[in-house]
Amino acid sequence: MKTGYYGIYGGQYVAETLMPAISELTEAYKKYINDEDFIAEYKSLLADYVGRPSSLYYASRLTEHCGGAKIYLKREDLNHTGAHKVNNTIGQCLLAKKMGKKRVIAETGAGMHGVATATAAALFGLKCEVFMGAEDIRRQAPNVDRMKMLGADIVSVTSGSSTLKDAMNEALRNWVTTVEDTFYVIGTVAGPAPYPEMVKEFQSVIGIESKQQLLEKEGCLPDMVIACVGGGSNAMGIFAGFENDADVKLIGVEAEGSGIETGKHAASINGGRVGVLHGNKTYLLQDDDGQIIETHSISAGLDYPGVGPEHSYLNDTKRAEYTCIKDNEAIEAFQILCYKEGIIPALESSHAVAEALKQAPKMGKDKIILVNLSGRGDKDMLSVREYLDSH
């Protein structure tokens, strides 16, 4: 298999101007990921700064509500900045610092990756610019303020559907102009190699911890692991702990928006076909002519027409199953988790919770479902309020 490929997926489909920077990054990543001092510094930051390990919480009232499998929540929402994204941005910004870069850029959808990048940039004394779709700036306003407080500049992107995909286009355009002193912090397991591999590596702490924590609490592995998938970094992170345990069923949950049949969704695997965008070959939502189509999801973080290449591979090899959750189901799961457990989940993570609500009743009480609660929902008040008011 060629480097940076997962079966036929992945690759390095970028403009020539960026390629030398990507090769430089690949070299640096290979060097530092095997460097004891780098890893020690990274781990110490995860422990003392991010607050890891994040807890593994047995959601007894949610379990009771479903009347089936025991549901455990991996509480990435309790991390500093409120989501799993920080695991990756600490890793990448630390790498940027080691490489002597002075400035980082990032794309963001829900704003969690933007906040996490702005946070890490502040921590390491790097200049930070975040590209965000105008529609996302509107619907995720609290995160925009947070990024500004942290000293980041926000660039409002108005092209296309003014969401995550367009923010990524603009970040790539900026990178091509500033490539010599700038490090592009990609927030998900997509983009040109080595990003999918690197982001997975930095997020794999989720899976590794969960496994150990569950073994301590239950003495066994979960029967099923569920995570939401936009680009797919929280899913790949938790899957990483279990990918070699063939008996553990892995489920990635895509955002079905109003339903695949309506065309208003963001389910790239379930509703798309293979293509090339943003540096990698993967499942994409596109029309008959190969133009990328606009996506829809109530969750800004899942509102993206592609998916990380390894997810495409796991789908084709059937190692993981990719299901769909609609906007209304995610909202319902959001409310149930609020009422039953006193946890306000991110709308992204609510998709994973919704899938657990479907799966748990079908499974015996001796079974265990592990859900990655990838982030908290403070940012989503406006979206949820607007949805509830209009439905």
Binding site: G11, E16, P20, R173, G275, Q291, I293
Partner: protein
């Protein structure tokens, strides 16, 4: 012989530089594109890049981004562009290069699209987001069909990498002049001429410089150290400002004349 190769050997004999306009196909509609390409070809454009619009043109600045959007909104598809090329080929032998992002060519099968392109008289393809690392996916197919893969080198391409890319280049090498996206610029980097000279010495294939060039005056110093210039956004901007097809054609011809003055050895 591939039309691109014949053209460059002819230019060399005549001691002339190539002028390579880029036109975004379908902006504002394919009838206009067709007329512009035919007029440019009839009036001395040496090679023409037919831009295939893409929804997410990551390497392009605002001019070509908006052109892509207008073209897609007007219903432009690869199939319709091919139909236009068939009509164009009946009237001119100007070398034609398809300039595209990979997804549009990958869609429906890359090999199918290359075969079709060859059949209708496309001579080369420039695929913006397929760098050297991924050539093995496209180059064998293109070679088998005698369609040149136009390789790109950027200001960041250096050392061993530069030599590797230049080594087996076919048709010509596209030298990106600036670190950045496409778009007309007021000036070009100070070290550009030196850089072009270096590439010219290393390259067996002709080298053509592009990105940012918008006038004959800008093209002049570049033409001294290269085998030609690509001009894109400046044509796109003129088309955008034109109210009618006729105006678009004459405005493009005006720019072509200016470029010809700029690159002529006088």
């Amino acid at each position: 012989m591939n039309r691109i190769d014949s053209k460059f050997s002819q230019l060399k004999q005549e001691n002339k530089k190539a002028i390579v306009p880029y036109i975004c196909a379908g902006d504002p509609n394919l009838e206009t594109t067709e007329d512009i390409i035919l007029a440019l070809a009839a009036n001395g454009a040496d090679v023409i890049e037919v831009g295939v619009p893409f929804s997410d043109p990551m390497a392009d600045g605002p001019s070509i981004q908006y052109a892509c959007k207008r073209a897609i909104d007007a219903g432009t598809t690869l199939k319709k562009i091919f139909e236009m090329v068939v009509r164009i080929r009946k009237q001119t032998d100007v070398p034609l290069i398809l300039f595209s992002y990979y997804n549009v060519l990958f869609n429906g099968g890359f090999e199918n699209n290359v075969k079709k392109a060859k059949e209708i008289g496309i001579d080369g393809m420039l695929i913006v987001d397929v760098p050297y690392e991924e050539y093995d996916e496209v180059e064998p197919i293109l070679k088998a069909n005698d369609v040149h893969l136009i390789r790109l080198v950027a200001p960041t391409t250096d050392g061993e990498r530069l030599e590797r890319i230049l080594k087996d280049a076919a048709g010509f090498v596209y030298c990106i002049t600036v670190k950045g996206v496409t778009g007309a610029r007021a000036e070009l980097p100070a070290d550009l001429q030196e850089r072009l000279e270096k590439i010219q010495n290393l390259s067996k294939a002709p080298i053509v410089a592009g990105f940012g060039i918008s006038s004959g005056d800008m093209a002049k110093p570049i033409a001294k150290h290269s085998d030609g210039v690509v001009v894109g956004s400046a044509f796109v901007n003129r088309i955008e400002k034109s109210d009618t097809k006729e105006e678009a054609v004459s405005s493009c011809l005006e720019l072509l004349e200016d470029l010809k003055r700029g690159v002529s050895p006088a």
